[in-house]
């Protein structure tokens, strides 16, 4: 489902935006440093804190995500459904390394600790129409 051309938007250069919703019906929109490519049908989001996003996903597994290609600023709209969490293994290890790298680039070393790699099934993907012109890569 995920095309190869979306991969640059998953490198963590530009933060992604995600929306979740509680069972009580309150939406929550926040930024996340990176959405990780797992395979053509799955992505991973980092679970670093027991925050509102984490609580919402445990109540209601649906996520809407907007990703941005740092070279062209093409935006991608993804609908996701939580599947499971991993606390070890190659996806977890890679995410842990990248989180520390991103933190060091933004002056936030030591702030973030990966608790789990939350794996999501991609239920839809499309390019956003938000731009009239893309940047030249």
């Amino acid at each position: 489902m995920l095309p190869d051309e979306i991969k640059p938007a998953m490198e963590g250069v530009v933060p992604s935006s995600i929306v979740t919703c509680s069972l009580a019906g309150s939406p929550n929109v926040t930024s996340i440093s990176q959405i990780y490519y797992v395979d053509e049908n799955h992505v991973a989001l980092s679970h670093q804190f027991f925050n509102k996003t984490h609580r919402n996903i445990r109540e209601n597994p649906y996520v809407f995500a907007c990703l941005r290609d740092p070279a062209t600023w093409q935006e991608w709209m993804l609908e996701l459904q939580y599947d499971h969490s991993e606390t070890e293994g190659p996806v977890f290890e890679e995410m842990d390394l990248k989180i520390e790298a991103i933190a060091s680039m933004t002056g936030m070393e030591g702030v973030f600790k990966l608790l789990a790699a939350d794996i999501y099934k991609v239920t839809s993907v499309r390019k956003s129409n938000s731009r009239s012109a893309l940047l030249e890569p």
Partner: protein, 162 residues
């Protein structure tokens, strides 16, 4: 009443993100581009570009639940405002003028940091729809362990809980 700190932040060179949900509690996302705050009435009006706004506007008409997150891309300082939508109307000339001013502020703010103007000029920001909502809650959304902390809307001081 909305604290002046929030008025300045929302109307400053910040990025605006909108969350909504449908009747099945499926979330949706959209940009907003430009916003004004009526501190005395406790409302925020933001401008939703129509090009990607249909799903979000449909959700507001269905249930009126608004999540509006405002962040400074230079510092990562971010706040989330929540409350019910009060009105939805097509943007007028004065609204698109506010959107142009907002984009100019962002370009001036981010240019010295190395962001090309084309990042912002490439977004289709109008025609747009003006959405006004009543701010009932505000939360810290700056990345880190403090994200989610509830703030007092009038004083901008922490009140605890999320």
């Amino acid at each position: 009443m909305i604290a002046q700190k929030f008025v300045d932040f929302v109307q400053g060179p910040t990025m605006h993100h909108v969350g909504s949900r449908n009747v099945k509690l499926r979330p949706a996302y959209s940009w907003a581009f430009g916003a004004t705050v009526n501190a005395d009435e406790g409302t925020i009006t933001f401008y939703l570009p129509n090009v990607e706004g249909a799903e979000t506007l449909g959700n507001f008409e269905d249930n009126g639940m608004v999540a509006f997150t405002v962040g400074d891309p230079a510092t990562n300082e971010t706040y989330q405002f929540k409350g019910p939508s009060l009105s939805i109307r097509p943007s007028e000339d004065k609204d698109t003028a506010i959107q142009d001013i907002h984009r100019s502020k962002l370009i001036s703010h981010l240019g010295p940091l190395g962001y090309p103007d084309a990042i912002l000029t490439g977004f289709t920001i109008y025609p747009s729809t003006a959405v006004t909502f009543k701010v009932e809650d505000v939360f810290v959304q700056t990345p880190g362990p403090g994200a989610g902390a509830k703030l007092d809307l009038e004083s901008s001081e922490p009140v605890g809980g999320t």
